[in-house]
């Protein structure tokens, strides 16, 4: 978890600088919507996502995302799911760009009450920062991304930080 905070600090430390530098670059027409399928990230398992690029200024793009994630294998499918929301920053002038993200996985966990022999749904908020590479053309088309996205559980009885990754493939339009 400490590493995640260090990562966030790093992001906050360098972003203003990157933004300043990007202002000098030329701007291109931009496709702002993305539909993607992902594994990992704030979806935790497999997820279907929608992203909207809100700001594109020279090298810097800022966007928001949402989706629904679950394990589509038989183990957890239909029992547990995540509703991820997040914000991301794309940095770079070319099609291959650095992606920095901060996600919140609204996770609905199926808990078993052993004494009562019944299930209850428990809500857990997981913080999922990410850093990675994204390939996407500004004008739209195929998108692919890969990144490191640790899953940080800040719950009182369940603090944990799990290294995780974020793989995605999608279509930009």
């Amino acid at each position: 978890m400490k590493i995640a905070f260090a990562l966030l600090g790093y992001i906050m430390f360098t972003l203003p600088v990157q933004s300043q530098m990007a202002n000098r670059d030329a701007e291109a027409p931009v496709a702002r919507n993305t539909i993607s399928a992902s594994f990992g990230g704030a979806g935790i398992y497999y997820a279907l996502n929608y992203e909207r690029l809100l700001v594109q200024h020279r090298k810097i793009g800022i966007g928001a995302s949402t989706g629904i994630g679950t394990d589509f294998s038989s183990a957890l499918f239909g029992r547990e799911f995540s509703l991820p929301v997040g914000a991301f920053i794309l940095y770079g002038k070319k099609n291959g760009r650095l992606e920095l993200g901060a996600g919140l996985a609204n996770y609905f966990l199926k808990q078993y009450d052993y004494g009562e022999d019944r299930h209850e749904t428990a809500y857990r908020a997981l913080f999922v920062p990410s850093i990675g590479y994204r390939y996407q053309k500004r004008t739209g088309g195929f998108m692919v991304k890969a990144g490191f996205s640790p899953v940080i559980n800040l719950g009182k009885a369940s603090q944990s930080a799990m290294p995780w990754f974020d793989l995605g493939i999608g279509w930009v339009f």
Binding site: L7, Y10, L109, Y112, P150, M162, P163
Partner: protein, 384 residues
Amino acid sequence: MKHELFPSFPSRRWHVCFMLLITFLFSCQKLEVVEPDSCSFQSTTEIIDSSSASELSRIICQTLNEEKIPGIQVSIRDSTGKSWNIASGFSDLDQNRLLHDSDLLRIGSVTKMYTATLILKLIEEGSVQLDQKLSSFFPEYHTVRDVTVRNLLNHSSGIVDIFSIPALFVSSSAFPDKFWNPHHLAEICMEKNLEFDPGTDQSYSNTNFILLGLIAEQVTGMKIHMVFRERLFAPLDLENTSLVPYAPPPPNLISGHVRHYALSMSEWYTFKPDHTSWSTLAYSAGALVTNASELSRFVHLLFQNRILDQETLSSMLDFEGDRGLGISRISVNGRQMYGHEGEITGFESVAVYDPATGTTIAICSNKTPFDIYTLLDQIEAQLE
């Protein structure tokens, strides 16, 4: 111009160095070297002479230091039931509390010996038959209908191992307070195709022993921790042994430690006493809590015919390959012994019985992984 606003703007190389430094600083936790005389609690009995005791203490402390293990308990019990117990090292990584021989640790799959014994007791009572098919316990699952209780006990069922399903690992790691439903775990595996026809091969599967726990609940009408308490722990006076978290975690249950970056983004992942995800994933295949002394006592009583009838014990030792009914044949310095090894997140243990001498050796540690068999070999060699 760009450097005027941020004159100290770091280079890319600096970025990388910064991140590596932060990662290094936050991930290192050093364990101090353990000295044999300063950190061991030994019981004094006549079964180990003083020179052997100090040599055993040295071997254990050497293992602690070489394998970076916080603490180890060892119990050696002779054929008469007298024991020599030692606890070396610490109960946690902070090293602010020495490990006591009364502290309780999770023993992982050594639980399977207890579960097998419980089922064999139920067989002696007539509640279950060894060759009874699962169709009589779980009629809705056709895939496993021809699997027998014997197939479950000696891992010849072909049922998929619950620990081979990645999503359950991820969920257990991300949610340490997750409480798995054993019925759900069993259903997941029973819905999958068998790996082979029952009885035609062997493949170690924790699911086999989860199903045995569910069968014990079904035929007794009691919760599994109560079945253990009533049939085994209370009659044998094993008052420190319990199935946690089905029974509440005892106050002297200590944390386990995994030296594994992939679980926690740091050098050590800690399995705390109130965490439930890993132990409920294991259920009757691996959720028992005890100490080395009580573990060696259980194994001693089992092989001294104090729990099961001779005929039942013989069937337990009816090996296919190296697997009996909840028991493994383990080679220790070339000697064939009976027992089981256990590993659950943060804990490693082993318990063996030497049929030639009647000696039992039990080792429990609060770290995984480590090569517990090398330590077992060294201890056994010292006893010869």
